[in-house]
């Protein structure tokens, strides 16, 4: 178990020793800041973080795979994966360690974003509940997207492949309602159940609503539902397992 911590610790250091963490944080705060400002700058607009949440959910489709693309692809490319896999370390310890490093990095960004909340409290009287559930939902959503990104990174020694596959999977799970709207019955329900976050109503700049469909909707409204929490935890667990399997199959090639 301590190997998980050693690996996570090394990777977090690598993130903050390179421009990566700072560039991505800056982009994250700029993009979500735009959504936040647009959602609260009208007279009589609601003092909520829904605009920020919409921006974050949208931006993480690209940001999460960008953060994770290096983690396993580079180890394969420079040959250090051979070293890791011949050390007395289990595959799941490697995968969980890498995942935690990316997760900690994103958590740091979310902490920085709390200044939006401070602004709300200074200039308005926000409802605390939706802010708490919104952030909880965002943490869970981040975990799920990072797990998918990490899986994509395990597939190829090429980081760009990891980025494209990761963003592709996330986009697919996000716009899955395009498909589910056009089919009926159980298929439609299954597809709806798989929908990752907000759909494209993120771009509906009038409402700044997070989509009605998708597992993020209730978090943004201030509703905490066990089903949504289980969904994000399951996606995270399933993709971490798939990543372990991807690493194990590398041994056979």
């Amino acid at each position: 178990m301590r190997f998980i911590w050693y690996i996570a610790n090394k990777e977090v250091r690598t993130y903050f020793a390179s421009p990566m963490a700072y560039v991505v944080s800056a982009a994250f705060l700029a993009i979500t800041g735009f959504f936040f400002v647009a959602s609260v700058s009208d007279a009589f607009s609601e003092a909520s973080v829904r605009g920020f949440l919409a921006g974050a959910v949208f931006f993480m489709i690209f940001m999460s795979p960008a953060i994770t693309m290096r983690l396993l692809a580079e180890e394969q490319k420079i040959g250090t994966l051979e070293l890791l896999l011949t050390s007395p370390v289990r595959e799941f310890e490697i995968v969980v360690g890498k995942f935690l490093a990316a997760f900690i990095t994103v958590l740091a960004m979310l902490v920085l974003s709390l200044y939006f909340v401070i602004i709300l409290f200074v200039y308005g009287i926000p409802d605390v509940g939706p802010i708490l559930t919104g952030y909880l939902g965002l943490v869970l959503y981040a975990a799920a997207t990072l797990a998918i990104g990490l899986f994509a990174s395990a597939l190829s020694p090429n980081q760009i492949v990891g980025l494209v596959v990761g963003a592709g999977l996330l986009t697919g799970l996000t716009i899955i309602d395009f498909v589910s709207d056009r089919v009926t019955g159980i298929t439609s329900e299954i597809l709806d159940a798989l929908q990752l976050g907000a759909s494209f109503s993120v771009f509906d700049l009038d409402s700044f609503g997070v989509a009605e469909s998708g597992h993020f909707a209730d978090f943004a409204r201030g509703i905490l539902s066990v089903g949504d929490v289980v969904y994000y935890l399951s996606i995270t667990a399933v993709f971490l397992m798939l990543t372990v399997i991807a690493l194990e199959t590398r041994r056979w090639r």
């Binding site: 301590r2 190997f3 050693y6 070293l83 011949t86 050390s87 007395p88 289990r90």
Partner: protein
Amino acid sequence: MIKLEHMSKYYGPYPAVLDVSFEVLKGEIVGFLGPNGAGKTTTMRVLTGYTPPTRGDAVVAGYNIVSHSLDARRHIGYLPETVPLYLDMTVTDYLNYMGSLRGMNRSWVNERVPKVIDTVRLNDYRDALVGKLSKGFRQRTGIAQAILHEPDVLILDEPTIGIDPIQVVETRELISELGEDHTLLLSSHILPEVSMICRRVLVIHDGRIVADDRPDHLSERLQHSERIELTIRGAEPRAVIGEMRDLPMVVDARRDNRAESVARAERDGTMPLIVDARPNARATEVIANKVIEQGWGLVNLTPLPLTLEEIFLELTTEEDLG
């Protein structure tokens, strides 16, 4: 310490290693010799637990590499062919990290890291970024991580590939020193290297072991001809070569074009030749008589041992024919 029993490894339908069995005892230094693509790296990857064998068993330090993989891996130090380094870490940070991944505790890591840095002579570069080091120094960093956790078995895959000649010499010296207190399996396609460092050589070709012997025994066993170095003063080269070729046991005679011989010949005004003769025909005596009979100056007449390189060529050619 290392035991392979009827190990085969297939990549898809293609065998990379076929029915290989050998054993390496504690303290042995064994060279693993073969051309590129012969199956050296695959065999080493099986032994280090990187990839499981398709058939057969591998046991390292008493642990089966498949069923007790973690236990076996704890006892192995491994340097893969592409030296696995994190270029954005310093030498010390890298070794600290590798130590912790080997399950070493903090105090053991703190004690070992300065020692191995000293062993591989990187004292002046302990805080340098690995990415800034020359290839030879990177190789040493790679060797340092392999010996860090005091493994029983050391497996080095092509440790001198791609580094400059002076550093090759230093790396070989380093490996010879390591052989004094490790069981060592070293792969190479450079033959003099193996004969220099190892007391036992395994030759692998097309995924099969084709020879397993001491380097000097290998040369005796495979000696098909005797090679003689002959240096003459005061004679016409073409005449000497002609006379030599006329001798019954001589297979071939030609000018010695090795750089050192040519340089010495120019300095001394002599003529160096290489004569190949059939074995056990007293060739040196006959050649000496001939030189004296012709009234030439005999400067040097020495039988040369065949190099492992040539033995190896023979081995692989024979395999090809079979």
